[in-house]
Symmetry: none
Subunit: 195 residues, 4 copies
DNA sequence: AATGAATGAGGATTCATTCAT
DNA sequence: AATGAATGAATCCTCATTCAT
């Protein structure tokens, strides 16, 4: 694939991402994407065969971008609570900007393809997703900052965030509301500390 | 509407519910529902005008059924922790049986109609959903069983459950996994108790 | 057919007439008529088999009513010009009230059935329609009031009126406009008179 | 739109015109037109969105063609009576060939859309239609050939022609019959001349 | 006589996908 | 590589008409 092709492909993915954020996955047609990009009706097939392929590529692109962001934002501190605060703040920032969230699209996609999906692999993914968090919490426990079962706590937070993300597609979550929840999470991690 | 019609309508809703549980909301066509029931192509329009109307009716039916179940299961005890356990057990039971969950369908429906929806009203609904829980937690706080901010804790649990429900469409949640989370929730409510 | 049936049938025709006046012929469905009357979906078939039959019956009913009106209004004068004025006034009155005109419906009906129609018979009808007029004009010619070729003049007036009727479905004809035309017609009949 | 597209569009309009002439407006379906042209079920939508749009385009096409014809046929003479004869002959020619008349279709279309139409604008159109005629008659009056009120006479002739056109959809008008009417019109214009 | 539930045919419309250019 | 015209499948939805009650 020529360099020009690569750039065009990336452009398509950028535009497609917006479409998926706005309409979810199932309602998006090839026509929608063709309209959003600068491609002809037939031209899109030179790059992708259907909306699933496009969506997968969008997710891949995002995953790469996020990975970089993630490590960079957090690693530069020793204090687990501080790391946790940064992490939660990052989440909060995203939750306050639901316009470009792919959460609904992602669930629609996964659910639509659930027959074809490897559940074991998905669980692995879930564990990975909580991996970052797990490390922070383990740090905290080792430091004596936190006193929880690290696995369970990390999963708990991941699930809560998922609940927030999915709710944000339908509700308007205020910053105040999110602050309360974030504080609650932190206070839970340190609960036994007072003794 | 004759009595027979009423029964047929209910039958349609039962069958439709299965379809929505299996395919979500957006992918369901009038034809799907027609095929699942014993109705002709045009016959369904005697009862409903489109899939949205059917889905709304399915949700209404569910809401009624759940309301009864809820009060009955929980009210017969004074101990807040016991009430909480019963509530969580009920949630666990549902989470282990994701085949007939409408969670994906519900989010697809809400998201697809989000332009037409009243966000303020939706937030009210959310608050109500946590209302039951809120009362249990307030009881617990008054009893001295729990020591949390009731509002925030109730919302936290609702969101976590939402996270579990939506995740269950894509992952297989083991009973063990759920038990850990449920215990974690309970332990959080009683955190300061040890002192 | 029982007396009650006869009355119901007439009631149906009355209501149907309004429907045809409003929608023309082709757009009217059995459902429209059923909705406009107090009859059940299937019940209408006890009286009529399709919209054509209903429309034909409506026209028959009208024809009867008009015939009575016509003779009654005009015959009581000897002066041809006065008769003519009365006739034209009656036409004017109808043209100013186009809401219950069946002209469009009639042409739609005739055109839709033109294959099945006997053209010769239709021409007879046309001649009949001008018959009344013809007699008045012949009177006038014999009196020396008018000086025209009676056949041609009568047909001319019938055609002009048809033009007015059909135009009135689409334009709003003012009373003033109609007065000018009516005067013009009259002046034509008497044209040679000045000599 | 490519040149080929333009030609195809014109081809569609030609074929559609025949369909409208035969069936009127309301009975014509997209399927009818698709069948009459060489287009697939969905293909027609590349050119037009519904039958109204097609019919409007057909009328536009006609209007252009007629405008040319009109001026060309008439302007080359000074004598108003001669101009009038040519004009009426042209009308006669069309009336004798009712197979490709769009009159019924036009009234069905106008009537069906009457709610959406601007009546004032329609009246303007009507006045314009009589404009050509009006000029001829004014010429004649100035020449001393005719002695009538030009406005009223022009409108009278337009309405008569409309009556003839609409009647021709249902009756077979003989050439003789038309000749009589045409002569009658002309004689009316010159009525006072004898003095 | 009368009802109205039910059926199925028919037409509208939108898209994924192909293909000639 | 790229275009966009064209096709045909799939769905939606409305009615005429039938039929059990």
């Amino acid at each position: 694939m020529s360099e020009k092709s690569v750039r065009k492909k990336e452009y398509i993915l950028e535009q497609a991402q917006k479409v998926f954020a706005q309409k979810g996955f199932k309602d998006v047609t090839m026509k929608d994407i063709v309209t959003a990009c600068n491609v002809s009706r037939g031209g899109i097939y030179l790059y992708f065969n259907d909306t699933s392929e496009i969506f997968e590529a969008v997710l891949d692109l995002r995953a790469k971008a996020e990975k970089n962001l993630f490590t960079e934002q957090i690693e530069n501190t020793r204090c687990a609570e501080e790391q946790m605060r940064r992490f939660l703040n990052e989440q909060k920032r995203e939750l306050l900007n639901p316009t470009d969230s792919l959460i609904i699209a992602t669930y629609e996609y996964l659910f639509a393809h659930s027959a074809a999906l490897n559940k074991a692999e998905m669980e692995d993914n879930f564990m990975h997703a909580s991996g970052q968090l797990l490390r922070i919490i383990q740090n905290g426990v080792e430091n004596g900052e936190f006193s929880v079962e690290p696995d369970v706590a990390a999963q708990n937070i991941v699930l809560l965030l998922e609940g927030l993300r999915i709710s944000s597609t339908v509700l308007t979550l205020s910053e105040e509301f999110l602050d309360h929840q974030m504080e609650y999470i932190l206070s839970q991690l340190t609960r036994g500390q007072s003794t």
